[in-house]
Symmetry: C2
Subunit: 280 residues, 2 copies
């Protein structure tokens, strides 16, 4: 596996692979890799000739009071893992190359960026769209892989690619969970022991919601109440949002329509903000 920091070198390598008509699979990450990331990496390795993973904690998607500094990092370990998985390139650009002082250009997907996580994290998805657009231009992949855990991100990036006429297929792969149901997230490492246990309330409440829907409940407000009550049992948990939306347009749904509805939540466990979701 080649580890590349320079944007120009990365572009040059990718041009070579494109000229040889190899398919390029790309997994953009913020590193501190877990099995969720690795499910994407394995799919890319299996499906494309040349697999590129980027590890870059993107400053423009963090708000001024968010956890950019605290976000967990371990590049050496990430490199070791990716090498074992058969990845061809690890791209680790520098902040000063990605966003030089005179940097000015931003990409945004209106409306979709303003709800759910976008409402709690203004500017977050603009940062995500901008960095992904940059990485897409640098790597030039045929296919890029994202996790369903960041459901809103996946919807927004698909929309961006479609609207801006990019020839990149987007694969969104299922959430990978711990045995106790907690969705894998690099931020889980920031949880204290008791908090890690409390974090189970996200999945537990989603399961309750799912059961209620299976049992015939369709009224979104009732399902939201179920979730709210379940999370309320954990005293370290503070709800950021519980949303029941169309899984493609992210528009609020008063009534759940099976196969088309996304139940998404963001919950603070202590100071750590976790997200989880389920398509019902």
């Amino acid at each position: 596996m080649k580890v590349i920091q320079s944007i120009e070198e990365m572009k040059k390598e990718m041009r070579r692979h494109r000229h040889e008509r190899e398919s390029i699979g790309f997994v953009p990450t913020m590193g501190y890799l877990h099995e969720g990331h690795l499910s994407l990496v394995r799919e890319a390795v299996k499906r494309t000739d040349c697999t590129v993973v980027s590890v870059y904690v993107n400053p423009t998607q963090f708000g001024p009071n968010e956890d950019f500094e605290q976000y967990p990092r371990d590049l050496d370990k990430d490199a070791e893992i990716l090498d074992e998985e058969g990845v061809d390139y690890l791209f680790t650009p520098k902040d000063s190359d990605m966003y030089p002082n005179e940097y000015r250009t931003y990409v945004e997907v209106q409306d979709l960026q303003d709800v759910m996580c976008g409402a709690s994290r203004p500017g977050h998805f603009r940062g995500v769209c901008t960095v992904v657009m940059k990485l897409f231009h640098i790597v030039g992949p045929d296919r890029a892989y994202f996790g369903q855990k960041d459901a809103q991100q996946a919807v927004i990036l698909k929309k961006m690619v479609e609207d801006l006429n990019m020839d990149i297929a987007i694969s969104v792969l299922p959430i990978v969970r711990e045995k106790d149901g907690v969705a894998l997230s690099s931020r889980n490492s920031l949880l204290k022991k008791e908090e890690r246990s409390a974090a189970r309330c996200l999945f537990r409440s989603l399961q309750l919601a799912m059961e209620a829907v299976r049992g015939g409940k369709r009224e979104s407000s009732e399902v939201v109440n179920l979730i709210r009550n379940e999370i309320g049992k954990e005293k370290s948990a503070k709800i950021d949002y519980i949303e029941i939306v169309n899984k493609n347009t992210l528009e609020s749904m008063m009534e759940i329509k099976q196969g088309r509805t996304l139940i998404a939540l963001a919950v603070y466990i202590g100071k750590v903000r976790l997200i989880d979701n389920m398509i019902v």
Copy 2:
């Protein structure tokens, strides 16, 4: 010359040329072609294997009270001219394909978009950046050609390409003028006969400014006054802005520095807004 309306067909053709490793030159226009456009087209034909010209009056770069409806159009004549110039592809996408109802994604270059024409036309450069980004993704050129008449547009698009790490070289070619000095513009066709004569005041005032600078004047405010007085002599002329700025950053310059300063103006002649500029 192939005339293509479908985005997917255009992409398919361009993929073929890229696979054959031909260089692609691209001239995006809003049509109603004049010698200014043709200077770009001829350069592209001369310098690249495959030349693509788009004719698309982009609705997102016009404000609600601007001249989108009145903007002159003559696609048949444009096609005839481009065919004679040896252009390979004329791309004429439809509004409903470029901006379907659920369209949401925009690209913007902050700060640079807020001054000069951007101050008078809020949202204009966001529309320009967005459509050019879309066209760049559809055509995938190695080199794109723009006119110096739209000086701010050229600065912004260069910045966009650099910031978003696109592999597209941008050529900016000199303003082409009528014998009497008026910069060629599709909007000149909207001028009444007396207005066409009044329109000479833009170039005349720029020439006066240039002479003053050659004569040693460096104080921007004095040069602005010279221009203001000259344009004031035309009673159908109404100044939108006169700016003396750094030619790369568009930052105001109190003092003119030779080779680095752009004098740019926008003037209404009757209802038609004309722009012109000079690097001194």
